[in-house]
Subunit: 647 residues, 2 copies
């Protein structure tokens, strides 16, 4: 039986008006995209120079300036353009569209005769495709393709789509199994998933085939990278690449045999996205099963409770099962986004709610931790525990920033967060045959084409603060269709009412399927158990032994110094403690906090001896926890997620 992959709903068919999410989403059009345009144009004082747009001008004007920034600096404009596309898809904005068209003109102007497009290699004159290990050419190509597809889909304008098609057509002549072609694949995956998107929008099969080629040959012996000069001669562009083993690049064994998530986390999950896409396109059940094994390995052995991944800074990478240190981890914002992308694909292919549970975790915690509530400051690294003085003085944590930064030299995360916020609709709903899937409880109105015709639904919620979710069938007509609602895995209970009456429901792999002939005005109400609860970690995670974490619905909570003073590692909490919900209007734009009793060391009596036989005295205290995603919006201070459990 053929698997029908679910489809996203066009972003212009989803109108989001959510108390929680609009705090962030509204920033995209109003603040972030204009601000990031200034950033990539080097117009923001106090921010690191980007040189992104300047490189395009340098190339076009042939003004003799050097290329500046990273080898993949072009991706900043690509991700910005992709985010603009999603924003325009939702809502027209003449000014943004004009800026985007300016950028597209520059991109088009920078394209070589043969279709090649990359300011770094073209300006420097370095030989193309000779350092796939480090050069990021295919990675950059992938982001450019994603941007081109998204902008075409949003605006119908073909210029940028033509640019990326020409680039892809050219790549199809360069790479492949045929003799005389380059038999490589990217050091940093991304082009694989982009080529599938390009295939979807153009129907051009060779894009799909090139993606499949990259995935199919990856990790075969002998390793392609061993044939490149950087490895053969040790003349690396980035010295650390000499230290990276093949597993860092997911080429330590044939990709189709890998079942543990290894290496650079962003590379890994981008690659798995393409694997999932290909499994669906080729109806390859074995590959799909392998994707699920990789996904299970991540989410059951290598993922933080906040939905972040990458336990080590050196290599920004996965390490080994159950190794989840809380203060030295990398947990890159981009990796979380990649995990959400991978999970969303797996859901669309399998319709299994477990994948969307992880999407929800990633979006509500680490995605938002990556961005300040002003929309202008960003974290790359999202630790679960910070003591600022230590993070600043101990170089083991030199990747950890104690306040969000305006922009980084390597600016992957900010535009990645932006494009994700701008395309939230892709995660919220999906459709297949005659079923509308509602994945995330974000207040919105949607109309979607089902077999029964175009249907309209209005979702009203004050989630995640509140577990009462209300769906109203709207529109002039309705019809017989299935409303499939995700039942989050964390719920102790989940009561469903239709038109005020509780109904029993069928649940299949995390979804409640409600099939009937719907009438306009029909109401479905869900009561989800979103009470605060304490979580234990699998005790194989050595860092979290004897600890508990407070969560509520999909959100992880943390203690911050701003509310609780310092030495938070001394806090002891019983999982039986009563938790008062306190809505603080004044805090972080209005936030539901937790207030509970705990014990902590009385430092006023702690003495000065470094080592002694006396046990420190404890005192009782009332503690306040805030959502992890909102941490560090009130200046620098200690933060902790995993608290010591009082027996």
């Amino acid at each position: 039986m053929e698997r029908q992959r679910l489809k996203s709903v066009a972003l212009n068919k989803i109108d989001i008006h959510d108390l929680f999410w609009n705090k962030y989403i509204d920033l995209v059009e109003d603040v972030i995209l204009p601000f990031q345009w200034e950033l990539i144009n080097d117009q923001v004082e106090g921010a690191e120079k980007s040189y992104c747009i300047r490189n395009f001008r340098t190339l076009i004007e042939k003004n003799g300036e050097p290329h500046r920034g990273m080898v993949f600096q072009d991706t900043d404009v690509a991700k910005w353009l992709e985010a603009v596309a999603y924003s325009l898809a939702k809502k027209k904005n003449g000014h943004l569209e004009e800026l985007a068209d300016q950028a597209i003109d520059l991109i088009e102007g920078a394209q070589c005769e043969d279709g090649y497009l990359n300011t770094y290699f073209t300006i420097t004159g370095k030989e193309r495709w000779t350092n796939l290990l480090e050069g990021h050419e295919l990675y950059t190509a992938g982001h450019m393709i994603e941007a081109g597809v998204a902008y075409y889909e949003a605006t119908g304008k073909e210029k940028i789509l033509k640019v990326v098609r020409r680039f892809a057509d050219y790549m199809c002549t360069v790479f492949g199994a045929e003799e005389g072609k380059n038999h490589g694949y990217p050091g940093h995956p991304e082009v694989e998933l982009a080529l599938v998107r390009l295939y979807h929008v153009t129907g051009e099969k060779r894009y799909l085939e090139l993606s499949d080629y990259f995935v199919r040959t990856r990790g075969e012996k002998p390793c392609y990278f061993d044939t490149e000069n950087c490895r053969k001669e040790g003349n690396y562009m980035f010295p650390e690449f000499a230290d990276f083993e093949n597993d860092y690049l997911q080429v330590h064994m044939p990709l189709r045999e890998q079942t543990k998530a290894e290496g650079h986390a962003v590379r890994a999950v981008y690659l798995y996205c393409a694997m999932a896409d290909l499994a669906s396109e080729y109806q390859d059940e074995k590959l799909l099963e392998q994707c699920d094994k990789l996904w299970e390995n991540i989410t059951q052995k290598r993922m933080y409770i906040t939905g972040s991944i990458g336990s080590a800074s050196f290599g920004e990478r996965f390490t080994c099962d159950y190794d989840l240190p809380n203060n030295t981890n990398y947990s890159e914002s981009c990796a979380t986004i990649g995990l959400a992308m991978f999970s969303n694909r797996m859901f669309q292919i399998t319709r299994d709610g477990k994948y969307m549970d992880t999407v929800e975790l990633a979006l509500y915690n680490t995605l938002l931790s990556g961005i300040a509530m002003d929309g202008k400051h960003f974290f790359y690294v999202n630790p679960l525990e910070v003591i600022p003085e230590v993070a600043e003085k101990n170089p083991t944590m030199r990747h950890v920033k104690t306040t969000r930064q305006k922009w980084f030299g390597v600016a992957c995360c900010p535009p990645n967060i932006t494009r994700t916020l701008a395309s939230m609709g892709n995660y919220m709903y999906a459709v297949g045959e005659n079923t509308l899937y509602s994945n995330l409880f974000i207040s919105s109105e949607i109309s979607a084409p089902l077999e029964c015709g175009e249907i309209s639904v209005k979702l009203s919620a004050d989630y995640p603060d509140n577990g009462e979710i209300r769906y109203e069938i709207t529109g002039k007509e309705a019809g017989e269709f299935v409303l499939a609602i995700r039942r989050p895995h964390y719920c102790g209970f989940c009561i469903v009412k239709i038109n005020g009456e509780e109904v029993s429901y069928e649940e299949e792999r995390g979804y409640i399927y409600l099939e009937r002939s719907w009438q306009p005005g029909d109401i479905v109400e869900l009561s989800l158990d979103v009470a605060f609860r304490f979580i234990h970690c699998n005790p194989r995670v050595y860092e979290n032994i004897g600890k508990i974490a407070l969560v509520r619905g999909p959100r992880v909570y943390c203690l911050e110094e701003a509310d609780n003073g310092n030495y938070l590692k001394s806090v002891l909490v019983s999982p039986e403690t009563e938790i008062a919900e306190v809505y603080r209007e004044d805090l972080l734009g209005g936030t539901l906090c937790a207030s509970f009793r705990g014990k902590r060391i009385d430092y006023s009596n702690a003495g000065t001896n470094l080592y002694g036989t006396e046990k420190p005295a404890y005192e009782e205290d009332t503690l306040t926890a805030v959502p992890y995603c909102e941490w560090n919006n009130r200046g620098k201070g200690e933060m902790i997620v995993w608290l010591r459990e009082q027996e």
Copy 2:
């Protein structure tokens, strides 16, 4: 009033025959020194090449080969020679002396006409003294001088002393305040303390003055290193030096104002050794007070319970107060040795037992942890907690080795451990006026010149397993003198008997002063409380909150996987638990172990979910702890010092 610095007793006047220490000390002459000679001659299969001796031959033979190894590769032969000297001082060994004389011929042969001596700079032809920041020239000179002094003192042979005097004389013409001279100081201190030693043996005051110059000007503004090309032009020999701030080099403020131990730990403590020496030579009480502040900062805020220092690998450095992570620390063997050297000097100057307490801690724990019981494998890095799979897979811990290595490219630690073992006598006793100080309870016979004449004492003990220490006044005659015995800070009780009768005693700053007219055959017996006890850490050390460590006398104990299985971080122990002392003949050459009850997680029921609400179940178990210094002598496995405390 002038402070009289205590003196060490000549090594040939101390005969060590100690159950515990001879396990290691006997290896020096029989195993380690011959083995290390082979190592520096590149004759050991499976060990990294040293090139140390080869560089000298290359220089002498002008054979056109390049210099190989580190810029300070010469120090390996210097430290080996210094250790040989101490070994010969204790006991003649014709073969070793012959090897040493061979090495000395090579060293002499490599010396330039003007006295300069350094194979790296001479072979490469790089300009001398132009990169004091990174070049290690003065550091290498310092080790060469120490070797020369030690070998002359041990054998009376003047050849190597003349070599290093010529080198020092030359340096005195190069460096100094006078116009036209180089106003720099070493990036890596060592020469400062060496010059004081050379002054002591030669009486040549300008060596002392040059040392004083290096110390006095260090950290003055403008920073000397800013005038060097590596900083001015960014062309570093070691790329990481671009990241190192001035505090890494102890030049962030005038050295005489620094009161916190900052930067590279070995550099810091070597420097403080010279400061202490100079404080004594110049009777500079302010400088001495500052030395004490630095020492207090280390031992009360920045030192591991095992006497090791250096909380971070990047920079091998101090970080900030109370930052003592147990699994990512550096805790270099060399840094511990430097701390022992600094503490010993401070003791000799002030006669305060607190310094020798730290010497004892450093020697009984980290010094010995650095060397395998076969004398042929070494640790640089001495963590307090290791999970092998994590240390091997998580690059945050890539400096941590999970088994001791044969030799390292940078081989500072093995020969440093060797010279320390070979010169234990310098830590065991000291004399001043009419007092013999007994610092360490190592079975030995000593004769020492006091004002009353030459006295002889025999110390018998089975320490640290046993707290019964026995001194016998030996020799034909005795006399009226003071026997000063250190009363370790950890002792709950310390009973003193003379000739079988308990006596009350005067104690001053950690020493028991017993003054009387001693007769041959007089017996002093000490009963020290060396019972097992659990230690709490100052709760400002965030890593050790809620934990306890087991110690006995000066030794720290740990749990190893070999005795206790894995997942040691799950172990919970009550400080009230009864500890059975178990002497295991079969273990580690005979070792006193601790056996006690604790709880640990039952992993057979731990489930597979990464996050859940259920608390893991615990089970009771009997645990076995072994001395930390002996860990990792039974293959790779988990190890832990700080155990979770059961309330």
